[in-house]
Symmetry: C2
Subunit: 483 residues, 2 copies
């Protein structure tokens, strides 16, 4: 997997850090955080925090030092195992892991935008399996609208388990869905002890920001943390709507929400794997539409990496985010406007790395391939440069001399196959050749690549007995759920 050994780009001074620190402490202690779970409230009450609740919903006012004590129990880094051990992922330190887009109800291919289907879900999962640069298909690669709602999570989990041998994300719609994901993961990995020893899923727990954790997400969080499965505790902040319109205010809110959510997991199972989550952008203040790839989100992202490191936590943020409706120039630069800071900030778990379009409402085949291209470029870019005497190629200069060219130099001939990153979608063809080849823009070429990859897809091997057991589980549970 990719390790980012380049320097981190940090823009917060010590003074700024202190101000943010005072900010989240004040928020959690004076305003407090609301939790929609009787069990969570009871855990916090027993731990000595001030809880005002009724009917399993209530506000907790925290001692900030208590929060930090809980957070300190979380591991700085951990592994998430894949059924193919070569695809096991390290979360934290200088490791960066990448998953595909998560959650879109629609799909776009070319000029057609339509409801996502289970076929699309499987196709995106197959694409994720085929590109080495992706560590995971993610979880809800798209929302398969043609499958029954109550049992959909079984179909998605089964597809993620069988069509890829990479890590996958757990379902978080409810505690019951989380239990199903865990049960299916036990089947795939050979029992509960195996997945408690090394987590085999990552699950996304979103805050109902500002400062509220909802019941169903909490149920899922508690189930996963009890089973020692990784959770990404993620404030969901579109500045202007779910947080104030200033970046520092959003950052303090993000710390308050993330750390209190993480504290809950550590109360449930001290030492369980957690990730400091961030989903931070802004709305258009005229229309209220969410905007992505904005300057404000990039600044927030750089700060987020630095802040999470300060708390000694792995961090999730970034991705290839855009508001654009198609895989056009805006989609290209907005995605990189988020993805390049993702690398500069050393983000450990990067969701939405491939396929995101139209503010996350659309999973796009073209965009998926273009994002993979971008990821490859960035992984190439963020490799430390080796500079030693040999790298200076003095002999090549001695051979070529003044005004010559290096095309046929010995130094070049020895290295020409591997010296530069070779893109598979980007074109540098001259105009005449490009026209002869159909004058296709990047999106059209990416569509061709996606189709070719899907044609060539081969499923990774899976033990027949395991497949059968998974199928039986899905069939039984589907019946129980009435679908």
């Amino acid at each position: 997997m990719f390790r980012n050994a380049m320097p981190r780009y940090e823009i917060l001074s010590e003074d700024a850090m202190s101000t943010l620190d005072a900010g989240w402490r004040r928020l959690v202690s004076e305003i407090g955080v609301e939790f929609g779970s009787a069990r969570a409230l009871e855990l916090f009450r027993q731990a000595g925090q001030k809880v005002e609740d009724s009917d399993g919903q209530g506000v907790v006012r925290f001692d900030p030092d208590f929060v930090l004590e809980q957070v300190a129990k979380a591991p700085r880094s951990f592994d998430v195992q894949a059924r193919n051990p070569a695809n096991t992922v390290h979360i934290g330190d200088d490791a960066m892991a990448f998953g595909a887009v998560y959650g879109p109800p629609f799909v776009r291919e070319g000029d057609v935008r339509r409801d996502a289907t289970m076929d699309d879900f499987r196709n995106f999962t197959r694409l994720a399996q085929g590109f080495a640069v992706l560590d995971s298909a993610g979880g809800v690669v798209c929302e398969p609208e043609d499958t029954p709602l109550d049992s959909r999570h079984l179909d998605m989990t089964y597809a993620l388990q069988t069509l890829t041998d990479k890590i996958y994300m757990g379902n978080v719609v409810s505690g019951a869905n989380a239990a199903d994901t865990i049960a299916m993961t036990e089947i795939l990995f050979g029992g509960r002890p195996a997945i408690e020893a090394t987590p085999a899923t990552i699950s996304l727990i979103n805050c109902n920001s500002p400062l509220r954790w909802d019941e169903r997400m909490l149920e899922a969080q508690l189930a996963y943390s009890e089973a020692n499965q990784a959770v990404v505790i993620t404030p969901f902040l579109l500045m202007g709507a779910m947080s104030p319109v200033s970046i520092p205010a959003a950052l303090t809110q993000q710390i308050a929400e993330a750390l209190t959510g993480i504290a809950l997991s550590q109360l449930v199972r001290p030492g369980c794997p957690v990730i400091f989550g961030s989903f931070l952008s802004n709305i258009d203040m005229q229309s209220g539409s969410p905007c992505f790839g904005t300057p404000e989100s990039a600044v927030g992202l750089l700060c987020t990496g630095q802040i999470a490191r300060r708390f000694g936590l792995p961090v999730r943020s970034g991705g290839g985010l855009t508001s654009s409706q198609t895989a056009d120039a805006q989609a290209g630069y907005e995605s990189l406007m988020t993805m390049l800071p993702t690398f500069l900030a050393g983000i450990n778990w990067v969701m939405h790395s491939a396929g995101w379009l139209e503010a996350g409402l659309v999973a796009s085949y073209e965009k998926f391939v273009l994002d993979v291209q971008l990821l490859e470029m960035l992984q190439h870019e963020f490799r430390p440069l080796e500079i030693d005497e040999a790298s200076l190629a003095f002999d090549a200069h001695d051979e070529v001399r003044h005004g010559g060219h290096f095309l046929g130099a010995a130094h070049t001939m020895e290295r020409f196959r591997t010296c530069f990153y070779r893109p598979f979608v980007n074109s540098s063809e001259n105009y005449e050749r490009w026209v002869r080849n159909g004058a296709k823009d990047a999106a059209a070429r990416a569509r061709d690549v996606a189709r070719k990859r899907l044609d060539e897809y081969e499923p990774p091997p899976l033990d027949d007995a395991v497949r059968e057991e998974l199928t039986e589980y899905v069939t039984r549970r589907r019946r129980e759920l009435g679908d």
Copy 2:
């Protein structure tokens, strides 16, 4: 103008710097640098350097410390005056100045790609005048193929002087063309002393890399440096063709070429304004085509900023570069793949900031506007974040509380107009609205903006007597040149 007060992203260790330092010293002393100018060779000979020449062409083997002595005479920063003093530009320190694309023989608008004309040249110049984020239209905004070659520089310079009141670049095709540019600049700024006191042009001196400075460029360089006009001494390095295929080798070559060119200017006029230039990318090793927005070019760019600072020189590099044939997703992310490192590296003079397409062969109206959009986003992003108690918006949290929204909060109402950057091409419209508005992609919307801006263009005021004197000069010189 824009000042980049954010931290620089530096990736070269002290050890790496020392290795590069030893590298360029060895190159200039053992291989030497070729100069195609009897005057240049004589200046170096008189200064004690080893010169082997015949017929005004020869190799100079340098004492590296002599080179550094000359380089030390160059100013760390300087102003370039515009005829509208509000548009005067500072070159160096944390200032960043941006000029449009330079040199394309072709123009693209929509699906039409054709020879560039003088009308296009004027149009791009008008666009540059209209966008505050651009400090200059640059120089050869496109190559007007419908005007006579010998007097073309007069038409271009006249257009740059009259259609904008921003700084402009000088013509470098020959010493005679440089003399014309200087004469016309004297007319515009009120005489030779005025432009010697503060330079009024920047001119691009390209190396015929590897390690050769050609006669005509040198003539132009000497003319400009004698007149105390700024020159950008630029190694022209497409790795694999004009330099070895390793980045460190390209960097040492770049230092060797830039510093020896700068030393020449300082011999001609000690203290004259110079810029450490860089044009560094790589070719596709299969086709030989130049590639832009590559990982290798981004790494080279980050190193270049750090290296130029080490020598105490303002630096030119970066831009919105792409190999793409159209203003598509590839054009979007490749341009940002260069432009974001341009900001991270704190580049002082940024050519090709708007309009570059197809490896620099095409000036594109759509791309021009999209690049301006990107520049605005980046200038917004690279502003230091103010973090103080007030920025934390505690009162807003106190007002909104848990699970509410900030749309109508007092803190939001006070700031909603200016809190976020507002794009003028990017769309975050919801799908239905976007379809109602014509389902235009970013390139189509950018084309609309370009046309609207050209319709709305108003020329900046210019004294009639000055205009007449410029016209007379152009008419006379055109006659003398036989066009």
